[in-house]
Subunit: 407 residues, 2 copies
Amino acid sequence: MPHPSISNYFISLNEAKSLSQSIKIPIEEEEVNIENSYNRILSKDVYSLVNDPPFDNSSMDGYAVIFSDTISATQENPIELEIIDFISAGHPPIKKLTSGSAAKIMTGAPIPEGADSIIMIEKTKEVDGKVLLYCPSFPNYIRLKGENLTKNELILSKGTFLTPHNIGLLATSGHSKISVIKKLKISIISTGDELIPPGLEIKKGQIYESNSYVLEGLIKEIGHIPIRKKAIPDSIEKLRIELNNAALESDLIITSGGVSMGDLDIVRKLMETEGEILFWRIKIKPGSPPLFGLWGETPLFGLPGNPVSSSVVFQMLINPWLKYITNSKGPKEKIIKAKLTEEIKNKKDFLVFPRVLVENNEEGLIAYTKTHQGSGNLRSLTTHNGIAIIYPHIKYEINSQIDVLLL
Amino acid sequence: MPHPSISNYFISLNEAKSLSQSIKIPIEEEEVNIENSYNRILSKDVYSLVNDPPFDNSSMDGYAVIFSDTISATQENPIELEIIDFISAGHPPIKKLTSGSAAKIMTGAPIPEGADSIIMIEKTKEVDGKVLLYCPSFPNYIRLKGENLTKNELILSKGTFLTPHNIGLLATSGHSKISVIKKLKISIISTGDELIPPGLEIKKGQIYESNSYVLEGLIKEIGHIPIRKKAIPDSIEKLRIELNNAALESDLIITSGGVSMGDLDIVRKLMETEGEILFWRIKIKPGSPPLFGLWGETPLFGLPGNPVSSSVVFQMLINPWLKYITNSKGPKEKIIKAKLTEEIKNKKDFLVFPRVLVENNEEGLIAYTKTHQGSGNLRSLTTHNGIAIIYPHIKYEINSQIDVLLL
């Protein structure tokens, strides 16, 4: 039974995304050296400072020649050319090639003026300052200036998540520093009298707190800064103090637990009375209890305490929010299609996220569930390698193709 | 033409893997707090210290009751039970339930002795210390002790790569510290007179060095420590000094460039004369020139200078070596099957790795090439999202299923 002040109760995931994305926070940029840009988000479009390659160059070790000189070369009747130069990578050639001459050239070295093709070293023999060619030369052994990148061309757009290959492309195009989104600081606060940190001795009624560790890792994975707090008991007063502290030091607050219908659901209660709730509960399974709102000016996602729910809601709701507000296109989710080898029940109006194992068989990818799917069973996220996305109003039978987010 | 001392010349990728994996290095372990274990590799099997859940508990906010008391409850004829206790998570119940009584119970709280089922709060009404039940209770709202994890059960085996969910499982099972493989230090040395670092002004014949940045990122991704050196020119003397330095401070050396047939291929030359080469050249495309050997006692992979080749060989040869010697099962490669929408030529005896774009269409995943596949075109690794694995002796036509390693 929702509190009368909460108008958006039990809404769809898409509605929840829109509502949360109506709240924005200031996003800052900073300049970093590219070697420190791993897993960062570009805050500006990046254009190439150079052509790549910057000049025509050889893709082989061999001789730069004039193709028309070489047409008639055969094993029996080799062509002889005079070697007038030795060109290695990094050293611009000085001499111009004319008919009857060749320049020995190393991979990556600039093509000398006059030459229009390369013969690889294996098809030649060097004798007394001359080279014998046993077949015609190949024009396609020249890599043309700008064939990969053109100077001033857009190479990576604003919002690109910087993978190792993207960083390499920044280097290739001449950038040693780039502008990125400043990492967001995200506080994680688990709540519940039953929670104790791992390492302590467990007493009757207690469980080891794990959600903050999972969330910490998920935040690291997408390049932001987790601030993992010690779990707090079910106390409105302690929660208020923690939220105030978190609002001072972070851009976003994530709580875990205390958002359900119960008498001790302190996150919901405190947000109802002293915060502002934009929505409560979402039509997804697992993970229906979340709320979203503002604590002062700081956005707050209240996640359910069940470990599977907590992770699923992070991935399906918070991660999209973080991407949206930072205008980030990555990390790209790997959503693939796989063939179900068992029936999966959907749930009217609900998006359902069973954990599935995706495997290759001869015809393609298959997906099935392996361990029990209880929302308390964190292990279901380690023994499976995907989260299936089961839409309402579709019948899922054996051999149906389903969408799976690879973990 | 291989040097006479190199017996393993132009071998298959599998042979190259076996030969490189015959060289081992000392692997050390260290203990870390689980919050610092992200992307680390477990060096020991881990067993659960507790049952999870540690005790039978309620998955709902509601009332713990005796099922047989509730069987006849209907909307018209509710059952009335006396509320004898309020049990919240973290607080073990003291009172025993007997017929005719109920205990108000919060999600996660231990089931009191005597109770065998739960009725959710929404199906009840509380009046003057009594609760009215409008339907029978549900035995499946009790999460049973140990239903997720059993005490002393193996939960994560040696070699597990620690993802956020694995770290959560360590917490759930009571571990605050665990033993992991000490990160390996890996030196990266690019070679070539033509290489300058991004940020400097480019002169004729020069290119920006990018391979060391890509390799640095790929090493970070799998949880080891890259030591990125400044590129060195084509000088045997400078290379010898760098290799000696690198051997002192790292567990593995990766060079880039200088391994081909040319006169200036200094890595190959120096390894031939002063190191030990276990193999040279592999039947893969791109990436055929690599060598592997020992510089003193330090293993050395000599990668080709072409940026695509360098990255592909890292992923196909060095990454498997690192996993093998650290006995690591992750990070798990995401190899999927997709349907080709174009013909791809294979190459006799060669494994070919075209970069492809994998997309979902209605029937499943499709794959096709988008930009040119030159081994100098690093961009082909950023505009595509997968590396196809094209085996020799198989005909790949439109609609063939191919294996793709997702990037």
